[in-house]
């Protein structure tokens, strides 16, 4: 019986946890409830993935109302792996968060923090799992609102402005999506994605569809921080509590990208003729400029969080580059990088979190010789950094390799070359940090206390768990690639 209820449980568990946390209020208990709920989510997502692999698409009508009328949850090989990814990353960061949150967030607000986290998680999972266009918007709002709140928990006042800027941009994005869905509804009379995909080809007004398409694309581009619309991201990632940054970096933009993929390929996918323009005129330049310019910007940043934030935008550029190829190989590359980058970036932000936990800052020039005091943290940063660069045997290599292969397969040599150029930039910005950590003699009088001063074990263990997971998937890259290629086939084939 449980098996049939899994899609609903995926959302309900974190949603349930939130009010209970508010009622309980004690911070330790709140954390425990959040962790337990999150682990259950992981379990559910794991089961769902297994079920999808076994029996194909799973559909779940909410409230017993059948599909085109009611809201439907729809799990296939595209979103099932992402459900697991988001739930797992959230769980890992949450396990890691306890000490970090204790230090950076006011103790009588912990329960609100974890409640918001749970809401955010259920919003993200909801965006992934739902098969209803309007429901996507609802879950988008749930996750966004709780995200604004989480960001505003940041320790200094700039967190508030960062959160506010994100709120304005995020709301614009969300309303664009809403407008687009409205147009779609007006043109087709349906909100169910599956139904939409069938109705769009013979919709009464093609213009309405086009307008809907434009609005939804732009809205989702804002939410997924694709290059010229990325400006909210750096501040938000910089000033939010570092655990929130780690969580968001691995999940929020990735989920938006998934919705983008869904709309592009599954919903509108039947009409390639007008998407051609979007792919070649908007997405491709955005992707290429994104990963080049943002990598350059990352090189010059002095704060690690900002550096990684810009590098995130650059990495999203790779994903979009894969998407804009619009081929099986390209989508596989984009999809696999969604998974891989989520793991890499979360691990990187977690290691920065350890640094901040001990030093109170993440200012690159003052991390002289950090390896002496925090060897494990530095090792984690460097290993994940190598993965970001795309050194062989890491997940970064798997995605970059497939991306370059896909670009070449389509004959876009230039793009393949530019991807390599941007990898060199990644070497530079990660190298600058590694250099300071490993080799720089202490120049300032006493910036870092001497002797071992490693972050607590409760932070290190989840971080290394994630790193080992990503290393494993780097060595056995064909596993994730198989998943991604299955997803790409599903996306290109439209709804089945």
């Amino acid at each position: 019986m449980i098996a049939t209820q899994l899609p609903a449980l995926q959302i309900i568990i974190p949603l349930f946890a939130a009010p209970i946390i508010v009622l309980v209020r004690r911070s330790e208990l709140a954390w425990i409830i959040a962790v337990v709920a999150n682990l259950m989510c992981v379990l559910v997502a794991w089961k769902l993935l297994g079920l999808v692999n076994e029996q194909g698409i799973i559909r779940y009508s909410l409230g017993g109302w059948a599909a085109p009328t009611g809201i439907e949850y729809y799990v296939d090989s595209v979103n099932a792996p992402l459900l697991l990814l988001v739930a797992a990353i959230s769980a890992i960061v949450l396990l890691y968060a306890y000490h970090s949150v204790k230090k950076s967030v006011d103790s009588n607000k912990h329960y609100l923090f974890y409640a918001a986290w749970m809401l955010c998680l259920s919003g993200l999972l909801g965006m992934l799992i739902t098969g209803d266009a309007f429901n996507v918007f609802v879950f988008l709002e749930i996750s966004s609102l709780s995200t604004y709140m989480l960001i505003a928990f940041g320790s200094d006042r700039r967190a508030l402005t960062a959160s506010f800027r994100y709120l304005v941009l995020g709301s614009i994005g969300a309303s664009f999506i809403l407008i687009g869905i409205g147009f779609l509804y007006a043109a087709t009379g349906s909100l169910n994605m599956l139904d939409l995909a069938q109705r769009i080809p013979d919709a009464s007004s093609e213009r309405a569809i086009l307008v809907a398409f434009s609005f939804i694309s732009i809205g989702l581009m804002i939410k997924s921080a694709i290059f010229p619309l990325h400006a909210w991201l750096a501040n938000a990632y910089h000033h939010a509590p570092i655990t929130v940054t780690a969580f968001l970096a691995g999940t929020a933009t990735k989920v938006s990208l998934y919705v983008f993929l869904r709309f592009l390929f599954s919903v509108f996918g039947t009409q390639y003729n007008f998407e051609y323009l979007l792919f070649n005129v908007i997405l491709l330049p955005a992707a290429v400029l994104g990963f080049l310019i943002m990598s350059v910007v990352a090189v010059f940043q002095t704060d690690l969080r900002r550096m990684l934030a810009y590098s995130s935008v650059a990495q999203i550029g790779y994903i979009v580059a894969g998407i804009s190829l619009a081929t099986q190989a390209g989508l596989t590359a984009g999809y696999v990088h969604i998974i891989n980058h989520a793991m890499i970036k979360t691990a990187l932000f977690m290691s920065v979190g350890c640094i901040i936990y001990r030093l109170g800052h993440a200012h690159r020039p003052s991390l002289d010789n950090l390896i002496q005091t925090m060897p494990l943290t530095c090792a984690a940063f460097i290993i994940s950094g190598l993965s970001l660069i795309g050194v062989p045997l890491t997940v970064g290599f798997v995605s970059k390799f497939t991306l370059i292969g896909a670009a070449m397969e389509k004959g876009w040599w230039m793009m393949a070359a530019l991807v390599l150029v941007s990898s060199v930039l990644a070497i530079i910005y990660i190298g600058r940090v590694a250099d300071v950590m490993l080799f720089r003699k202490q120049r300032l009088p006493n910036p870092i206390p001497q002797g071992r001063n490693e972050a607590p074990l409760s932070m290190l263990v989840p971080m290394y768990g994630l790193i080992f997971m990503s290393l494993y998937l780097g060595v056995y890259g064909s596993k994730t690639l198989a998943v991604a290629s299955e997803a790409a086939t599903q996306l290109l084939g439209g709804f089945r």
Partner: protein, 142 residues
């Protein structure tokens, strides 16, 4: 926002005391009539909250806070959401989909009745608590 001290505006204070019960009653009407006529949890919640907001405007925030403490608001918020979710979960436990009210009682029509009723009550409680919290939040800012 300027809050009026207690000893002034006697007329307003007396009238307010008279009105508040009716506002609440109307809110409850909108709440429980929602499944048949216009209304429902959102509207009812806002109307219910407006009773407290009016109280706060006339008698001062301190006074209202002692009537309806922030702790109660917090609990109401959580309870509202839980009520909503529990309704869904009960239908799940009875072997149907989440929020499928058909199975709540012996026959689908009564089940739908009860389901809507419970869910809307949850919504109402949460909305009122959130609106009052917003009022507290803004009003206590100088």
């Amino acid at each position: 926002m300027k809050l009026y001290p207690r000893q002034r505006h006697r007329v307003l204070q007396v009238i307010t005391k008279l009105i508040i019960p009716f506002v609440m009653l109307f809110a409850l009407y909108v709440q429980f009539h929602g499944d048949f006529g216009p209304g429902g949890g959102f509207q009812a919640g806002v109307i219910f909250a407006s009773a407290f907001i009016l109280h706060g405007l006339i008698f001062g925030l301190q006074h209202t806070r002692s009537v309806l403490t922030p702790t109660m608001l917090r609990v109401s918020m959580a309870v509202g959401v839980l009520l909503y979710l529990l309704t869904g979960v009960v239908s799940m436990l009875r072997g149907a989909e989440f929020l499928n009210y058909d199975v709540l009682l012996h026959d689908p029509i009564h089940g739908q009745h009860l389901g809507i009723f419970a869910v809307e009550l949850g919504v109402g409680i949460t909305v009122y608590a959130v609106i009052v919290s917003l009022f507290y939040g803004f009003a206590s800012k100088r």
